[in-house]
Symmetry: C2
């Protein structure tokens, strides 16, 4: 957690008014720009000081051997790690031969603004050099949502005290040094100098560097082109080397004059295409961007975002910080997925190297539902990526002795990279999470072509996995044994309720999709016997329930286990996994992150209201929230069971996880799932949105503190706006054909262009559930900051 808030509270932007060097790593993540294809951390233009210099490309990684002191069958041999690629952000400035460096001289003023509507990061700095020269630097940076291979920087230097000699060096730097990314010396070695130079070229104001990774053999080209606007006598030179290309602008600027450098940066990469092809791709992207020009790029960017916000904005009255935070969250969720296009959406997006740049189940579980409702093309693309990895998932399933597809627990390209199988391979629920995202995506978009071409095969192959993973007992109940659910403090258990119910949804979803696309299903080898086997397994699915306590067991035997000694656990012993052995965590009742509670949300149709309330209260007492995936799920279920204040507290934590650095590791990259989850907390929590069985339903309810909550989403091509105030909710169908929804127990038919208002009453609520001592959310108090 950061000691003091560093960002001012504004509805549509994040502003940093002063530079605190200790918080630089944090701000680099918060100010990261990305379109899902290219990502750039919010490093200072001049490259130094930095927390972690970072430029990332979706799906671009290096492999490294995974070491095992005791190896086992089917352990992955190689890991994949996102690579900090050729840095195109660097623009160095020399003022009368003195390098501009905020650590020297005097920083007279500093401001950075992340503009959520413009899609830019702006910086305005006034600096006095050690020799006493004062000047203003103004830079604006964007990573284009429209031209996916392009980033751009407009860099303006203005002397404040007369004629000044200025040199600006705009660079591409490959293999730049950074902090070590791994304690394993072999991994560190593999990643210390990952890019092997293949080509460097320069011509006029453009330069291109081509490199290839040593082991994974992925080729990348980084290029830059420039527009230089300076006073007469400005001299421009360009050069290129193996790991460096540099445009040098030398000039002398007087009062009222300025030097403006527009830098266009292009990236292209491929594991298959030839060197000339990759180089040409970057040259073409640069030419297109030069044609658009800075203003053109800015305009496109804003238009793209206007369109997005129009279908996705969330408005909150009564908590300005959360208003800012939810938009920040949505913006970064979009940045993570907008143009990822058949590559994985990583847990950190392209904002840092946390988790090695891997994608997990988080993407399908927390990110895709948001994208499906707000940027459906991005969600479809992410599922197309999963589809593209089916051959690898087949191979993995075969290796594991299973049918169908076993998706990896963590990966960049699609191969399993988890070196700890109890929390990796055994967490088979990722298959059902993918299926869940497919089913929802088809329900919400109505895109049957997508279902036929992409979704069906994902559903079929994951259904096959479940059928082969589970088995019937002598009484005919279907069990899935020896797996790990979402709660990573419990592993290798029988009949994890979340897994079983999600597998049930998966199996039934596959049956239904196969019925809609019989020819494609037949082509995939699905026959009536297989459908019957899926239907039967789903219907016989075991869901363990503790009759004595009247609650569901997270897995067989869970509620009989000893409870964790919460009272005897000191605050500094969290997160528990850093201070207690897995064996002890696994065998006791202690929950890292919602598991049964996540099932209450995701499979709400399988529980009664009373069960939800009892289960939530039971597991709330055990959930220590050592994962950032916790708060949003707890917010949703808390809201459903009527605990609106508690839901509000959790909502705050989910939304502010990165702005306030609540997990203490925002420097390694943003928590995209938690950020996306804050949208879910608002929309599924307070909005009560559910889509069980493809039916769109709402159960609106907002806490006392908020005056108003409004959100927008897209359902079957129609944009819908929902506005909740105390006592009533208004549904407004912005466009498209009439839409049937449910409001609480009432069915409403919404007509386009009209509004429908319905009352709601605050739910009857029991006592606020308890959390383990010290592990409850902070009570949310609006206006705490800003």
């Amino acid at each position: 957690m950061i000691p003091e808030p560093i960002f001012t509270v504004e509805p549509w932007s994040i502003t940093e008014d002063q530079l605190q060097l200790g918080l630089l790593p944090h701000a680099e993540s918060v100010f990261a720009l990305s379109n899902g294809h290219i990502g750039m951390r919010g490093n200072l233009d001049e490259g130094e000081p930095f927390g972690q210099p970072g430029t990332y490309l979706a799906g671009f990684y290096e492999t490294r051997p995974l070491p095992y002191a005791e190896a086992g069958y089917s352990y992955p041999e190689d890991g994949q790690t996102a690579v900090n690629v050729t840095n195109g952000k660097i623009i160095r400035l020399l003022v009368d031969d003195e390098p501009f460096d905020v650590r020297y001289g005097t920083l007279l003023s500093h401001r950075r603004v992340l503009d959520l509507r413009a899609g830019t990061l702006e910086r305005v700095v006034r600096w006095r050099s050690p020799a006493g020269r004062e000047l203003e630097v103004r830079s604006t940076r964007l990573v284009s949502f429209v031209q996916r291979g392009i980033a751009a920087i407009r860099y303006e230097v203005r002397p404040l005290d007369g004629e000044t000699r200025i040199v600006v060096q705009s660079e591409l730097v490959a293999n730049e040094p950074g902090p070590a990314v791994s304690r394993d010396p072999r991994a560190a070695a593999a990643l210390a100098h990952p890019l092997v130079p293949e080509l460097h070229e320069d011509h006029q104001r453009r330069a291109v560097l081509v490199h290839q990774t040593r082991a994974s053999k992925i080729r990348m080209a980084a290029g830059m082109d420039h527009v230089v606007e300076g006073p007469e006598g400005t001299v421009v030179d360009i050069e290129s080397h193996d790991d460096l290309a540099r445009l040098t602008v030398a000039t002398e600027i007087g009062d009222g004059q300025s030097l403006v450098l527009t830098k266009l940066i292009g990236y292209g990469w491929s594991s298959r295409r030839s060197l000339p092809a990759v180089r040409d791709q970057v040259d073409a992207a640069l030419s297109s961007a030069v044609r658009s020009g800075w203003d053109g790029l800015l305009t496109e960017q804003r238009r793209y975002l206007d369109e997005f916000w129009d279908g996705a904005d969330v408005e909150i009255d009564g908590d300005a910080e959360l208003q800012q935070a939810i938009r920040f969250a949505l913006f970064h969720t979009l940045q993570a997925g907008a143009r990822t296009e058949r590559r994985a959406i990583a847990a950190k997006g392209l904002t840092g190297t946390g988790y090695d740049g891997h994608a997990f189940w988080d993407t399908e579980t927390f990110v895709l539902p948001v994208l499906t409702y707000t940027a459906p093309h991005a969600a479809a693309d992410a599922l197309r990526w999963r589809h593209s990895t089916l051959p690898l998932a087949h191979e993995r399933a075969f290796q594991l002795g299973l049918e169908g597809a076993a998706f990896p627990w963590r990966t960049i390209r699609g191969q399993e990279c988890s070196a700890y199988w109890p929390a990796g391979t055994a967490a088979f629920h990722v298959a059902a999470d993918v299926a869940d995202a497919v089913i929802r995506h088809v329900d919400v978009t109505g895109d049957l072509v997508f279902e036929r071409d992409i979704g069906l095969r994902l559903l079929v192959e994951t259904a096959r996995l479940w059928r082969s993973l589970g088995h019937h007992d002598v009484e005919g109940d279907f069990h899935i044994d020896g797996v790990t659910g979402p709660d990573e403090y419990t592993a290798i258990v029988d009949d994890n309720v979340y897994t079983n119910l999600m597998a049930q949804r998966n199996l039934r979803g596959a049956v239904e999709a196969a019925a809609r696309h019989p020819r494609t299903a037949a082509h995939l080898g699905v026959d009536d016997e297989e459908l019957a086997a899926w239907r039967d397994a789903a219907n016989a699915m075991c869901v363990p329930f503790d009759e004595r306590l009247g609650v569901h067991q997270q897995s067989q035997g869970f509620t009989r286990h000893a409870e964790w000694d919460f009272a005897g656990t000191a605050p500094e012993q969290y997160p528990l996994l850093l201070n207690f052995p897995y064996f002890d965590l696994y065998r006791k009742q202690v929950v890292k992150q919602p598991d049964l509670v996540l099932a209450l949300y995701k499979r709400g149709d399988a529980f009664t209201d009373e069960q939800k309330a009892r289960d939530f209260a039971y597991y709330e007492r055990l959930t220590v929230r050592d994962s950032s995936l916790s708060a949003c799920a707890q917010a949703i279920v808390a809201a459903e069971v009527g605990q609106l204040d508690l839901a509000y507290d959790y909502f705050g934590e989910a939304a502010l996880v990165d702005l306030d650095d609540l997990a203490g590791n925002t420097k390694d990259g943003l928590h995209i799932a938690s950020l996306a989850g804050s949208w879910l907390a608002a929309v599924a929590g307070f909005g009560g949105l559910r889509d069980h069985g493809g039916e769109l339903s709402f159960a609106p309810r907002i806490p006392h503190t908020l005056q108003r909550l409004a959100f927008r989403l897209t359902f079957r091509g129609r944009r819908l706006r929902v506005e909740i105030v105390h006592g009533s909710a208004t549904y407004q169908l912005i466009d498209g054909a009439p839409l049937i929804i449910r409001h609480d127990d009432e069915t409403l038919t919404l007509e386009p262009g009209t509004s429908t208002t319905r009352p709601w009453s605050p739910p009857h609520v029991g006592p606020r559930p308890e959390q383990p001592p010290g592990r409850g959310p902070d009570r949310r108090r609006p206006g705490r900051r800003g």
Copy 2:
């Protein structure tokens, strides 16, 4: 498994009549000599060719980092690996400048004999050099049971065709090259050149080399002294260097003459003592050995073994191979433990570097029971070693959040070296196995001083572990959750029956021992409340039983799991752990090695006869015996439930595991636990020996094929001989005060010097239990070989 038997069948020796180079690694293990303190593989005197050159010292190891791709709290950082120390066995011979090497020239005859009564390895070779010179080499090697730091070789060269120039080089070689011991490059590097030279000295016919390990900082001295008997004109020279000391004998020998070199080899080592102290220790040992002389050493050795066999021999009529094998097994069990003296008895003894030279639960479970009955001082010493590691076990327990002592799963010195916690740390049963060995040792020896000074603390600290590891449920039952039992194909389970029942014995044993030594117990902080807590936990111990099937569950839920697809598993897919992922093995009914069945033996007092028969038949169907710890336990329980032919088959496998190389890895060292277990198979299996509650009881029964089985053991200082023939058993108390035993349901009082014969009838027997296809034992047919 070796293609052809290479050893002839004899009652008191193992003879190799021809040299098969491909089987050299196997023979090196079989012919290993050790006293538990020093071990030497049966390498050829001249050092080459070799499978694995090996000289090992108890407790002498090097540390190496244990790598983890995903590290976790409490994972051990360093491993320990036994080091091949300075080789003192090497005696090179040059015949007219031609090195004697069996790969060149012509091997006219070859014979090696391991003499189980003399405790020597003898070799007689006739060789014709490539140049045509013929000679005979006769060497005899021993590792002294009496002078624990001493080994000796008598080496005699006799030309067969007249005057021959002979040079003999007797060496100490440190850091000798061998095959790589690890695939991990870092480990290999650490062990490639483990010994750092500190001192080399030579004087007259003696030389000493002192080295220290690089990381573990253990210092060792190896010395040699010689007696040379050669014809006149024999010249002797000695020299020493960092990693080499060499005595050179040059002579010319005529017909009827010979050169006899007696080489005395001494070792000393310490992690604490100074260089001069360690060097002087070796010099002193050598001086003492020189004083004894070769004949003296031989005489001592035979006297020691006569004494041993007198109290330990097993006689078998009707199966000459098993007669040989059981004596071979007992000899190596003795060699592993005789003089280990407060260092660990490793799984391979000192015969090879399999399992890194680590000791496991095998020692207490299979080896110490045998030593307790046949060489009780050795068993006591092994338990003193455990006692000496209590500070480390405390520290480990503390790290794991537990009370008392958590002994390591695998170790040399006492620190946990297991890098895979589900089959290491979680296998807490090692604590109860230690306690079981303590309880038995005290029961069998009646040594209350040992109990007070050593045993009690081991019992108390392990009882504390169980009390803190388990917990009561709401109904008051005591559960031990999240542990791994002996069956390594099932891990991290609740209420493993073996663990729970052994913990129960541990808790009760601690209560009883504390009552016998109240002052010592009070000194250890044991009070009435703690005793009550142990008693209560033991009484409330949960033992899961499947009412529907009428069998015990190996652990909670076990019998509900899917059964392994045995029919679909090909023979080459065994051992399963090399071909299937742990996740799949763990969640299915498949048993690597007896677990519940081992409980039927070790805690036979907790089961009815009917339960034993049903449980044995149920688990027999599931046990694939991918561990060499299987056959002996199955033999014992098979015999108990009346399946004598099956017991006989298993007995054969346990006893022949190394002579016949049944596991295919005898080259890495002998399976000491299986060898010891074959004594248990004979004595506890066919003899029906049990010692529940400290009472010595027998239930004699031998299979049809055998005519007679007799065995000897020591109980409370009296030697007892039991002879079983068909229809009757005779008990003979050789010495000491009268002894009360049980024969089946009858109590007998044995008087010294007399025999008591009682009838037994063949047990009523159900159908032979089935094993998984292809995983049953081979039907034992005596005379199959030899």
